[in-house]
Symmetry: C2
Subunit: 411 residues, 2 copies
Amino acid sequence: MSDKILLRNCRFIITQDSRRRILENKSILIEGNRIIKVSSNIKAKKDYDVVDCSENVVMPGLINMHSHVPMNIMRGWAPGLELKEWLNQIFKREAKLTKKDVYLGSRDAFNEFIKSGVTTTVDMYFKIEEIYKAAVESGIRAFLGYGMIDLFNDDKKALEEGRTKEVVKFIRSKNNELIQPIVSPHAPNTCSKDLLIWSRKFADENKILLGIHAGETKGEVELIKRKHHRELTRFLDSIGLLDNSILFHGVHLDYNYIKKVGRKPSIVHCPSSNLKLKSGMLNVYDVVRSGSNLCLGTDGVASNNNLDLLEEMKIAAMLFKVHQIEGRFKDVFIDQFLIDAVTINPAKALKLNAGFIKEGKLADLTILSLNNHLSNSTKKTILNNIVYAANSSDVKTTIINGKKVYENKCL
Amino acid sequence: MSDKILLRNCRFIITQDSRRRILENKSILIEGNRIIKVSSNIKAKKDYDVVDCSENVVMPGLINMHSHVPMNIMRGWAPGLELKEWLNQIFKREAKLTKKDVYLGSRDAFNEFIKSGVTTTVDMYFKIEEIYKAAVESGIRAFLGYGMIDLFNDDKKALEEGRTKEVVKFIRSKNNELIQPIVSPHAPNTCSKDLLIWSRKFADENKILLGIHAGETKGEVELIKRKHHRELTRFLDSIGLLDNSILFHGVHLDYNYIKKVGRKPSIVHCPSSNLKLKSGMLNVYDVVRSGSNLCLGTDGVASNNNLDLLEEMKIAAMLFKVHQIEGRFKDVFIDQFLIDAVTINPAKALKLNAGFIKEGKLADLTILSLNNHLSNSTKKTILNNIVYAANSSDVKTTIINGKKVYENKCL
């Protein structure tokens, strides 16, 4: 197969450029792992792999900012429980996971992501070598972090730091452009202050991103108050974990404080998980107003129960409407915010040269069919329909790093 | 093709019988338009059409209780508006709809339903002859109602009544077992009291079901109070529209009153539409506790924006969690209520011999794949996963009245 792909005559291209242009009937030329041209006049040459996109929307590959891929083997586990009780059940199951379980769960999850148009995910778990293997086989772009939990125990802390060092070394030794490490202390209520401080330092020294669960439940805020005598957001700020951090959930953070001090964390909204486990209701407009970088994540399938990021956009929009109905803030049209939250915003958080469709960007692209949930869309309604109508059933082809990893609904 | 279909070795069968049994590794034999056997020992004969279901869940065909199928040609129309402003835009567009528009919109919608595993829908619109044609072509089971609106004008009332009589006569003259008429006054705030009373009488005399929008917005409740000096629910009761009626939306009804007087309306919850248009948040547990018959509907795609009833179950579950988070009532596990709301409850409302999987029932069945969003499901998690994980992308085959109208993802 040619290494040049021509996506010809795309009905709509959601460019996500600075003017958020939606192009009609233009073509995209991909060479190697890059987009090299977006134009109405690209002639197909003999060696091009030409894909007719006249009944498609082409958008930047969807970036999922929070997952636990091996959990796919426990989809819907412990139904009906709140986070704390649920986690007890999950921890019991996780204690028994074999390498093979982790590998199979990850493989299943990466396939599910790719079939949902997700081109990148940020994952936190353990037995990372197995996840790495599954990721490489699937062709997905991934940031893999070992979830450190020391439960305020010094011996455990040293072990967890050692494990993170090993994982980073392992991933870097592979020199695979698709897979990068991320430093992942589990959460402020499961890690000692020293481990959190070490994490920040290690991440900065090694130029690695840092991602952590933060502000998921009220219980976490209360525990931090008792343990460190500080409100959670201020505590995170005091140890350098607000700026330049990826905070998963962020339901119970103080966005007024974040705005006041001008920090710019990336906040990963996981509405399905937060609702299902009754953790709380993040107000995405609070996040946007605070100057934080709004991103979206599915979380793992034990608490969602799928990895359908397009569906997650609808859940996020619906939750936003709940806030609007209940008069929690003025009327804002958030469709574009949500599209940004799965493209340019996470690309910025991950320092990825992606999230836009333009020359020189990575060829990570999601191609949606206009023949089912997006039928009869116009330039005026296409964004609203991507947010409210589309789900993974509308994904036709997924391109990652210039390769079609899912084509015409086949892996 | 044989008229006997054997669904062999179904991994799970969601029977929806009185014990809500979930069967494992049993087979289903269909002859003509009926289920004739459910057992572990059904031998395939030469003329059977054998379908291996060892990687599938078979459940009763999903019944969607509220739609406006021609609206598929205006998917996502007027994004960002509330119901009143939105409706102004919609009415303008609808005034210009041609017969062809109505036919094409309906065709698109019925296909979308069938691809989503929906075997029956209850629709309200106009130009019913076009919708009828599209329905018959698609193979779906449908209840079609002409939406009567007299805006409190006597001349218009007579015209609307006449139109309903014509539509009922037209549908009955066709003698098509899949398509039935339904009497559909549009809403208490768009129909005169006399038209509503006529509707009830006409429906009863002709043994036809009656479906009406009711309690969709607070504005409607206020208008009824001003116009008829009664709270909406009591007003509906006074003209016989609580019992034996199908009430679409029902967000702002008084469920304590319904419980007190022991009426049994069918309430059609449409969470996506109600949230998107900021109409309000129905509490499904209020409906269940009141003794009403809880059903689920997508509404039309201008306010949803899709017809994915499986996804709608997740939205309903999420909205329920919002009520739980905000402490509006005690903790209830509603997965089974939501499965009931798309199977046995609507079948009861429609007096359909369906909604269960057992001998003698109509062969309306939805077959889901266990290879994507339902992977790794167990008997303990399958219901939770159908509610939270499955969407239309998991529908493999749809059987209506004993015919495979969608098979292996092909129409």
